[in-house]
Amino acid sequence: MAAPVIVVGTGPVGIRFVSELLKVNPFQPIVIFGNEPWQPYNRVKLSSLLAQDVSWENISNHEWLKIKEHPNVTHHLNCPITQIFADEKYIVDDKGVEYPYQELVLAVGSRPFLPSIKGIEQRGVYTFRDLNDVQALLARSVTTRHVCVLGGGLLGLETAKALCRHNTQVTIIQRADRIMNNQLGDEAAARLQAHIEAEPNISIRCKEAVLAIEEGEERATGVVLRSGEVIKCDTIVVSTGIVPNKELALDAGIFVGRGIKVNDHLMTSALDVYAIGECAEHKNKTYGLVAPGLEQAAIAANHIGKENSSALYKGSTTAAQLKVVGEQVFSIGETEKPDSAFAKEYIYQDENNYRKIILYKGKIIGAHSVGEWDESKRVLELVNSGKSVRFWQAWRFKSSGQLFSDAEANVNEWPDDAIVCQCMSVTKGTLTQAINSGCTKFKTLSENTGASSVCGSCKPLVSELLSSQGPVEREPVDKWKALIQVSLFTAIFSFIFLLLPGIAYSLSVQEGQFEQLWIDSDFKQISGFSLLGLSLFITLLSLRKRAKFFSWLPYATWRIIHGALGIVLLMVLITHTGLHMGENLNFALMLSYLVVSLAGSLAGFAIALEHKAKANLAASLRKVSYWGHLLFSWPLPTLLTFHILSVYYF
């Protein structure tokens, strides 16, 4: 029996490699080694875990759950590999056990870079890289009062955000003149910094070099800056970058540079040994993000699993689309305009967005943004494909922040080779193919293609693709059942008004005098002003969608409250009118209220049942009823004002 393919490393790249290889050759025996005691997890979500936004269960690697039961896959967790014998084609673990391999894949990743600062080796100084670090930091976070994070890169910022609690002060110390200096230009960085510092307990110090870490009796007590200033703190997290784990390869005599050197097939200098992910150095470049690693995993798996595979790795464009401290940040390529007559840059900014594109000879060589930019995928595509940016596109970008017109923005219009999911390098073509072959649910599509399984930022695009392709089963919106109920009752009450005659006036003064509610002027004033108040409040609720500053309770909840208050309004309206529609202005007002209710309830149904109806129908129904709801609301303020005015006028 032939020796298996051995994979060292259970990070996302190693796991991805296994599943890619199984896809190419399901009968290939695979052995995978991990040096952590945990089940493999999704490293990208560690900061969420640290912030306690997600639980332990939520960070497990979905792909792992599938492959660990695979009959041809053997796994050794908590089993570090200590030596490679490349010539003899076997490896040795820390207990001295030897494992022969047919092909060896090194996905050993990287470790935090610890700068040589005095005092860095003492207690109270942490790194943030793996689950062990998370555990340590979580334990520490209970007692810490002031944390210094060294490094203002992505990871540093995320760590700061995760550690910042109401009683914990966090200071980020960045050596460069701006945060995320690899991804963002000056202005964008300043904007992001302002956003981060809006958090009450975070402050950022740029252009500050750390000379030493102040040593205390038990643990570090502060950070000494070059200026001599000492920032007192009880916890220090070092987040100054990563170094590839190349030592294992180095010991085995494999060529290394910054990382383990690989060729276009991701093969190292040793026969049948591959390296992928953060530990690999391709054409003098190492990549610190997950997406290139996954790309490499797929190419290596193809090369190993398929004879005469033609897949070549050509390097990755370092594009990052990240949620940094709650703010969407996108970056690709250059961050500053090259000093050249052929280079141009365009900037668009408004209250919530900063976007910048850098062109060289008409082609985008860099772009970054702070704030949601729904075109980021297309920009990436533009960079990768080397297409030129037309002057009207640049002009449109300057005025509206959009490179593409609305029609172009539709993901369905994208070319097949455009990448939808950046983390997993899933193209639009792959997705449509998968959809057409039966992955009509978001979950199955995501599992099969890997799209939207990492950071989730492309979920809307994937959903959009799903909803427009073939027979669909789409994701229901949040609280859709409650929304149906609210819409149903709204419709019922509206129809009660429209279809039932006014409640007949009683023929006797000796009977119950319910009707005094809609006859007596005192009662009518009470119900009338209640209606006014409700109307105002309900209108205010719809601002939840538009006002960014107001973010208490999710939008879906407010939508239910909006609808429920609408029902209350209709009920008060019954006591105000006794179901009489009135005449002239009053009739117009009543009709306005009812049509608005009906359109609202229709919109509610359309939204709640969108995942069940035909895509086009659902979309157009939603659009029509939403605009109807809006359109018929416009006369309401005027009619209501004049109704009240006329009541007192006459």
């Binding site: 002027s521 005192d522 004033q525």
Partner: protein, 192 residues
């Protein structure tokens, strides 16, 4: 209307409070006590009606026999009865002022709407019947307002008073004699 007038009412109250505190005690010392006021009113009413009863109705109907007096004086082209004359006067007063009001009531009313209605009226009418020669005074609250209420005995001054009350088909009592108390004049003055 209520809401609009509310602020008006509020400012009126504020102004009148200011006004009151400005006038101070002076207004109280120069005013007439309600009792004095109603006593005087009653004296005028009583005298006028006595004149009408004797000098007009009594003379023209009984002595000179030139005209009749009738409850339906319009249809019958006759004189109004003294009690009607008294009531019409009170209605004219009601149209012109709300500074005071008065009515003619009885424990044995011909028209049941003229029976006592409020507790004070019931008590007062009984009081003047039980205590001939005395008036009744009291204070009561009606419709959220305070009133000084005075009740004066109304006596059959002429035989025709008694006979008319005895003979009317709606009269609950038929044994009145001249000098008997037929009912009472109720005068009300709003307080405060």
């Amino acid at each position: 209307m209520k809401k609009l007038s509310l602020s008006l009412i509020a400012s009126t109250i504020a102004l009148s409070v200011l006004g009151l505190s400005a006038c101070g005690d002076k207004a109280e010392t120069t005013g007439i006590a309600p009792k004095q006021f109603t006593d005087a009113l009653h004296l005028v009413m009583d005298s006028d009606r006595a004149v009408y009863t004797k000098k007009v109705v009594g003379r023209l109907v009984k002595e000179e026999k030139v005209i009749k007096a009738s409850e339906h004086f319009m249809d019958d082209k006759a004189l109004p009865l003294p009690a009607q004359m008294f009531r019409f006067g009170s209605e004219v007063v009601a149209e012109k002022t709300d500074e005071f009001s008065y009515s003619l009531q009885s424990l044995w009313p011909i028209n049941k709407q003229n029976a006592p209605r409020t507790e004070m009226e019931k008590k007062g009418l009984q009081f003047i019947v039980d205590n001939p020669g005395q008036n009744f005074y009291g204070e009561e609250e009606l419709g959220g307002k305070k009133y000084f209420t005075a009740i004066y005995a109304d006596v059959a001054v002429a035989p025709v008073c008694a006979s008319c009350h005895n003979d009317h088909k709606d009269s609950p009592r038929t044994d009145f004699k001249v000098g008997d108390i037929l009912g009472g004049v109720v005068i009300r003055v709003p307080l405060g």
